[in-house]
């Protein structure tokens, strides 16, 4: 993640009210914060995130506000004042205790000008400062104050505070609260936050439509990422371009090489791509890499601009998408006859596979197209036909459940690619030629994605889906490598409980002790692909360590003398995570042996150590 705001990236502008405005920062635009004012985007581009800016009063002849960086000493001025006041003394860690005035009397309220450190107003001195302001201001008056609001809204706050008739009856606690409320409303400050996965998810959850990300809180994102073991899966490896001529069909496609496939996660995402983004971030393929210099941002501005061109045709990662402008782009670049390449790289052939064989995310989707629209916030448009460079282009593979399970029924997988001789091609209009190449590319890529997924051996399975997890596992379990972790998020516990019940001790016991007639005589291979029966929806011996958990972060306010948990937190769906590892059961009947808790005291008892139904013994051992 960049530390400064790059042109055309999405950012969140956090306002004093706690509300975020999420916008794409385009150079040479004006950003309006409504009642807070407006300022040129160029004043925050290239500046670090997390600074607090203040909209300054408009200069003569300018119709926008310039910005001032608010130093932290100013942000914390009131807290520092509280810290040194008796009654709520806190260790100050040897920091310089500036001469910040404060009051000892709990009934007093002091308003400090943070810039100068001077006392602007004191509740019991109010008369001395502004006699008229003791009257409650009308809303109109407040509006007026705001309109010619100078000094970044601080004047309004001072006036409001002083005008509060019951001011001196208030305790300092409620006064602090009152002050905070007013500050939130009128102070003209904001902070620029990066749109990384954590901030995005938070915003989506708290301020937008939490149901679109299945109410997935940060705790859950962390848990599925760790339990799913999602991490960088190795250096990129690309298949060699088969350099197929246009006369060659399917037979010229590069075959999947199973030994090259490493560090791949199988993902089911019904959070509009938020889960994919979280995993991509963990794997290092969410954000374009830029050199660590200040000159970096010009490169990105071009890359992120929607109109950016691209030099090779490898970026056509979503061939299923048919967009009108594809025609032109393809026609231009896919002449095939006059290879013109600015970098003199050989142009990849139609059957070149643009996907890395390692460090990838394979998304299986239920509709004919995946919904990954949130990836737009990271400059990745899954539907764009002609995409500027982005790491997800070579690390995100998508296929439908039909393509995964019954590829022969899928047209784009099973329709053989078009072929044509060079002469034929030369005779075609450019748009037809473009079409021809695009279809061939689409074929090769679909073929690769489906074949690689069906080759299995995935390093993990991670889901946040509205589909029944039992059915997902029914079709995905056999695709996991031995020992691979599974992490399934669900906003509610019921689906996960039903899933865990498929692996209950009674089920495993029955299965391993030969009580299940349907499995007698079946090979281990057959049982790995167990299609499910009413009593045994899943082969109960294929998972280890099945557990369900939930986590919640309880947030605290930490202020001098006023530290306590927040009074309100988000309710709604709690969120649960199911975890397990993929087992490779030994063939034939395996009985457990258990000896526990009996030595020393009664030596004879050891002889009676249990041997028998594997799972019951282990379960008993757990309880012992």
């Amino acid at each position: 993640m960049a530390s400064v705001v790059r042109p055309n990236t999405w950012v969140a502008l956090k306002l004093p009210s706690g509300i975020s405005r999420v916008i794409q920062i385009a150079p040479n635009t004006t950003i309006s914060l409504g009642k807070y004012g407006s300022f040129p985007a160029n004043l925050i581009i290239g500046r670090p995130y997390h600074l607090t800016f203040e909209l300054q009063d408009k200069l003569e002849g300018e119709d926008f506000s310039r910005l001032r960086i608010v130093p932290t000493t100013e942000l914390y001025a009131e807290i520092f004042a509280d810290e040194v006041s008796p009654g709520c003394s806190t260790p100050t860690a040897g920091a310089n205790e500036a001469a910040i005035p404060t009051t000892a009397d709990a009934e007093d309220y002091t308003l400090i000008d943070a810039e100068t450190g001077n006392v602007v107003a004191r509740s019991n001195l109010a008369t001395a400062i502004d006699e008229t302001a003791r009257q409650t201001l009308t809303q109109d008056e407040i509006e007026e104050l705001k309109r010619d609001g100078t000094n970044a809204g601080k004047d309004v706050i001072a006036k409001l505070l002083l005008s509060h008739t019951a001011l001196d009856q208030k305790t300092s606690f409620s006064l602090a609260k009152y002050k905070l409320m007013k500050t939130k409303k009128y102070i003209r400050r904001f902070q620029v936050l990066p749109m990384d996965v954590a901030n995005f998810a938070n915003w989506q959850l708290e301020e937008r439509d939490s149901s679109r990300i299945l109410d997935m809180r940060a705790e859950m994102i962390g848990l599925v990422g760790c339990w799913g073991n999602a991490h960088y899966g190795g250096e990129d490896v690309f298949l060699e371009d088969p350099r197929a001529s246009t006369e060659q069909g399917q037979e010229a496609c590069a075959a999947v090489q199973e030994d090259l496939l490493r560090g791949r996660w199988l993902v089911v995402d019904d959070t509009c791509g938020m889960l994919v983004a979280a995993l991509a971030e963990r794997m290092g393929v969410l954000n374009p890499e830029y050199p660590d210099s200040d000159a970096e941002d010009s490169a990105l501005s071009a890359a992120a601009a929607e109109t950016a061109t691209e030099e090779s045709n490898t970026a056509d990662a979503q061939p299923q998408q048919q967009q009108p402008d594809t025609e032109m782009a393809d026609a231009q670049e896919d002449d095939g006859l006059h290879p013109t390449n600015p970098h003199n790289k050989p142009r990849p052939s139609d059957f070149a596979i643009p996907y890395s064989q390692t460090n990838t995310i394979t998304v299986v989707h239920a509709a004919s197209q995946p919904n990954l629209s949130f990836l737009n916030y990271w400059g990745f448009d899954h539907t764009a036909p002609n995409h500027p460079p982005h790491p997800l282009l070579s690390h995100l593979l998508t296929l439908s459940w039909l393509q995964l399970l019954q590829p022969s029924l899928d047209t784009s997988y099973s329709t053989p690619p078009l072929v044509a001789t060079q002469q034929e091609l030369a005779g075609w209009k450019p748009s037809r030629r473009g079409n021809f190449h695009r279809k061939r590319r689409r074929f090769a890529r679909t073929r690769h994605v489906v074949d690689a997924a069906r080759a299995g051996n995935f390093s993990g399975l991670i889901c946040a889906s509205t589909m029944d997890p039992i059915s997902i596992l029914k079709h995905a379990l056999h695709l996991l490598a031995g020992g691979a972790p599974i992490a399934i998020y669900s906003p509610t516990v019921e689906p996960l409980a039903a899933l865990a019940d498929c692996f209950s001790v009674p089920r495993r016991t029955a299965w391993t002790s030969g009580q299940v007639a349907e499995i007698v005589g079946k090979s281990g291979e057959e049982l790995e692909r167990w299609a499910g029966s009413e009593d045994f929806p899943l082969n109960p011996t294929l998972l280890l360590g099945v557990s369900i958990q939930t986590s919640r972060a309880r947030r605290w306010q930490v202020l001098p003398g006023r530290t306590h948990p927040l009074m309100m937190e988000r309710g709604g769906a709690e969120g649960y995570v199911f975890t397990a590892w993929r087992a490779k059961p030994a063939e034939g009947r395996v009985e457990a042996k258990g000896k526990f808790k009996r030595r020393k005291t009664e030596p004879g008892a050891v002889a009676g150590a249990a041997e028998g139904d594997a799972e019951e013994v282990k379960a008993a051992a757990e309880e012992a």
């Binding site: 150079p27 290092g284 490598a481 972060a553 605290w556 051992a621």
Partner: protein, 518 residues
């Protein structure tokens, strides 16, 4: 160590498809019972076992030879181990008798007491012949899993309190520990957090002079430092975790004699984080002593081009207060304090009913009102039948009362009548979810904060020159009424030369495209 070859890659990061010798594997003995084992090839009889190195558990004996080269996740059958000379050679210890079952096999009563490393300490020299082929025992098994930070955290040799998965998963997410990041950690303790953060920042092993994701770890307790150092090497993590033996309160966070690790994330699990915070500044903190004496300029351990994310981990609220206060004074922003409550849930079948089998955990009382009524009616009926022949009221009524009780609690007639065993025990009763018998309600308080990179007047001037003002074309974001009106007016005014504008814009884009492709 040259961890650049695939061979040397940590099993935590890339376990490969199968178990390997000289590498860490985790044996899952039962659901939550894991045993880390450093797998070793047998060169011959070992410690009295003809099969070479053997792991003994209460679930049987497992020679390493049966666990090497198998796919991860494999179920491993126990072996009938040949103790060979072992029984004879070993001095009989008190209580050894109890440790033997009737077959003369070794019995390890408590897995926790098992010390794998002593079992496999020295290779035996007195046996010229190779290891004996292991023979499967009739019962007993374990599963062999690839190591992950999650399993390691629950099975590592504890030397301190450790940070568990519910906390570290959240922390790593919030401090943006991502591939390629450099993260400072102190103290290393038992290495739980180190393993999890190593996986998070890993983006390949650095080649000579290359900068890659790294964990810069500190531990001042010498024994722990040494143990951890050894573990890192055994786990192939030396290239990822850089461990220094130091008191960070005094010595700070620079590495290799004064070099900045250029970190962008920090995790402090120390008793007094506020004492470590001043060293994590961007400039020489006020009151920092001694640093000047050498004449060397003060060096920040933080990356000057990145914002720094921090998390401190403290069990007590007083520590939090001090830490937060220090953070504010040192310019950290977005300070946020949370505690994580994690609960594990178990699923079970809640079996209630008069006709349920009399198993453990079954509640043999009426499942519902209907069942209660039919049972009661049944009792009444019996009572009437019973009462008819005999008229001596006093005795029989008390007798029958007893009968009634016995029947209704399910130990009487009903059981004899229909000795019920379910044919589908997994489907009996209602599926329920409940928490663990004990829950951890507090681990520690987590304080998060961010220290933005420095921004000087020169930086600002440079940025302003690069993105000059005055060419604003459109308004983005929400507008109040006044500005919306103004905009509309402007639009109307400009409508005349709109086409002209469009043209200009298109030209601009063309230029841009030229720039990019050039």
């Amino acid at each position: 160590m040259a961890p650049t070859t695939r061979q040397g890659i940590s099993p935590f990061l890339e376990p490969g498809p199968r178990t390997k010798a000289n590498s860490l594997a985790i044996l899952q003995l039962s659901r939550d019972n894991f045993l880390p084992v450093h797998l070793q090839h047998a060169t011959g009889e070992h410690d009295g076992y003809a099969e070479g190195v053997v792991v003994n558990t209460r679930f049987g004996s497992f020679p390493h030879s049966t666990m090497i080269g198998v796919p991860w996740g494999s179920q491993i059958r126990a072996s009938k181990v040949d103790t060979g000379s072992r029984g004879r050679k070993r001095k009989r210890l008190p209580g050894d008798d109890a440790g033997r079952d009737e077959n003369g096999n070794e019995v390890e009563a408590d897995v926790a007491e098992l010390e794998i490393e002593t079992e496999s300490a020295e290779p035996t020299t007195d046996t010229p012949s190779g290891p004996k082929q292991a023979i499967a025992a009739s019962s007993g098994f374990v599963h062999v899993l690839p190591p992950t930070p999650e399993i390691w955290t629950t099975s590592l040799p504890h030397r301190t309190q450790v940070v568990y998965t519910p906390d570290y998963s959240y922390i790593l997410h919030r401090i943006r520990a991502r591939p390629g990041a450099v993260i400072i950690e102190a103290g290393a303790g038992s290495g739980s957090f180190s393993h999890a953060s190593a996986r998070a920042v890993y983006n390949g092993y650095p080649k000579e002079g290359e900068r890659k994701g790294k964990v810069i770890s500190f531990e001042y307790h010498e024994e722990r430092y040494k143990k951890m150092k050894q573990e890192l090497s055994q786990h192939g993590l030396e290239g990822i975790v850089h461990l220094t033996h130091r008191d960070v309160y005094k010595g700070g966070f620079l590495i290799n004699d004064g070099e900045s690790p250029e970190a962008e994330a920090v995790f402090l699990d120390l008793p007094a984080p506020w004492d470590a915070l001043p060293a994590l500044s961007r400039r020489r903190p006020e009151g920092a002593e001694g640093a000047d004496e050498s004449g060397k300029p003060w060096v920040s351990p933080l990356n000057s081009k990145k914002n720094a994310y921090i998390c401190t981990f403290s069990p007590c609220i007083e520590q939090v207060t001090k830490t937060v206060s220090a953070m504010r004074r040192l310019g950290w922003v977005d300070i946020d304090m949370v505690e994580i409550a994690n609960r594990k849930l178990h699923t079970a079948r809640d079996r209630v009913g008069l006709n349920m089998p009399q198993d453990r955990g079954v509640n043999n009382s009426a499942r519902d009102v209907e069942e209660a009524i039919s049972k009661l009616a049944e009792i009444e009926e019996k009572f009437r039948q019973h009462a008819r022949p005999s008229r001596s009221a006093a005795n029989t009524s008390s007798k029958n009362g007893d009968d009634g009780k016995a029947t209704s609690n399910g130990k009487g007639a009903s059981r004899e009548e229909e000795t019920f065993t379910s044919s589908r025990p997994w489907a009996d009763g209602r599926l329920i979810v409940r928490g663990e018998p004990e829950i951890k309600t507090h681990t520690s308080y987590l304080v998060f904060a961010i220290l933005p990179r420095e921004w000087s007047e020169e930086d600002e001037a440079a940025a302003l020159a690069k993105y000059p003002l005055g060419q604003e074309q459109a308004v983005v974001g929400d507008m109040d009424k006044a500005s919306r009106k103004k905009l509309r007016q402007e639009l109307l005014k400009k409508q005349g030369d709109k086409k002209q504008k469009k043209k200009e814009k298109a030209e601009k884009l063309d230029e841009k495209m030229d720039e990019t492709s050039g």
